[in-house]
């Protein structure tokens, strides 16, 4: 479970009147927000046993895809582009990059 609050995604409905135009973060229009990003060829796998919750990966993720949960972190797959920075930053090797389609 992703802890809240996260951005609120609104369903995009084609506007008819000016006030129908969406304000704020909206889903649907892009690949990134609909399920796992199409850009990703690899995805980080977190080993909670090795993670000490130092949050180095959290501070290094350009996409806000690493989410704090309790003392550890979890991945918000919707936003991960598979850049692999988190795996480089983790000194304890608690993050490994795995092929997206294994």
């Amino acid at each position: 479970m992703i802890p809240m609050p996260r951005p609120i995604f609104q369903k995009y409905v084609a506007p008819i009147r000016a006030e129908d135009y969406p304000i704020g973060t909206v889903a649907e229009s892009g690949v990134l927000l609909s399920g796992s990003a199409d850009w990703r060829r690899e995805r980080p796998v977190f080993n909670a046993d090795l993670c000490t919750g130092c949050l180095k990966c959290y501070l290094a993720c350009p996409d806000g895809a690493v989410v704090r949960e309790g003392k550890k972190v979890v991945l918000d797959e919707r936003f991960c582009k598979g850049c692999g920075i988190c795996a480089v930053e983790c000194r304890l090797k608690a993050i490994r990059m795995a092929a997206e389609r294994e």
């Binding site: 802890p3 809240m4 609050p5 996260r6 951005p7 995009y12 135009y21 969406p22 704020g24 973060t25 909206v26 889903a27 649907e28 229009s29 892009g30 990134l32 927000l33 850009w39 990703r40 949050l55 959290y58 501070l59 290094a60 993720c61 350009p62 996409d63 806000g64 989410v67 704090r68 936003f79 582009k81 598979g82 850049c83 692999g84 920075i85 795996a87 480089v88 930053e89 990059m97």
Partner: protein, 302 residues
Amino acid sequence: MSGSSKTPISPRSLPEEEFFIGHKACAGCGGSLAVRLALKVTGPRSLVAVPAGCMSAVGFLYPQMSFSCNAIISTFAGTASMLSGMAAGARALGWRDVKVVGFAGDGGTADIGLQALSGAIDRRERILYICYDNEGYMNTGVQKSGLTPPGARTTTTPVGSTMRGSSGPKKNMFEIVAANGIAYAATASVGYPQDYLDKVARAASVDGTAYIQVLSPCPTGWGVPSHETTRIAREAVDCGLWVLGEYADGKHILNRDPGTFAPAAEHLRTQGRFKHLTDEDVARVERDRDEQWKKIRDHWLR
């Protein structure tokens, strides 16, 4: 310094909300990390201006907007003037708890946006200007800017028989804003996020204009794998090629002295833009670095 706090920001105390999310920056984009981290500090009541450049191109894909705080695109040259207007607007509305913050690339800062920034500093606008320095005009396809370092290959400074990458020096924006008499300025690196977060916090509480220049590698333009962004940004500091400093109350402060520098040759040549550098080229880079560090070590406070 200027009444701002020196208590470090704890990563756990940062808000859970993401204020820059779902953007379409390339995987591993350092600029987007710089924006994301800064907004974690300045928070939901940030009023953001972003000029033409990658961060506006990837952040405002209407109707899928990536900023969950107030944000607007400014003209390419007008980041600091738009921030000034936003600060005036907030004053007029009696909004006292907002942070007015801009994110501009190096081209938008050191070249076309310089006069607006200088004017804002002169008027002592209470704004925070963050330059995410990826050392080139990336959004238009990697052209040389005033902050492109010597030797770097860009599409306008190619490597061939008559040209060997960018020839001029990198403009010293940090000294330029200091010479303008700015209230607070700092250099940072996305490879040292704690240092960067602390500087954003300090800058946001300064009574006057604040400027932060944060080294933000661009995997696409630099020719490095996407997972290298933060490591390269850290290594640049460890090699002495990027200085972590501050300017406050009229004084220069050195935040980190690596002592002996990590070897520059390997750091440079793992980047596609520097692959062509000869041993002689690298020696020149190291000579320039050592000269700069001599001045810093002699004159800056620790």
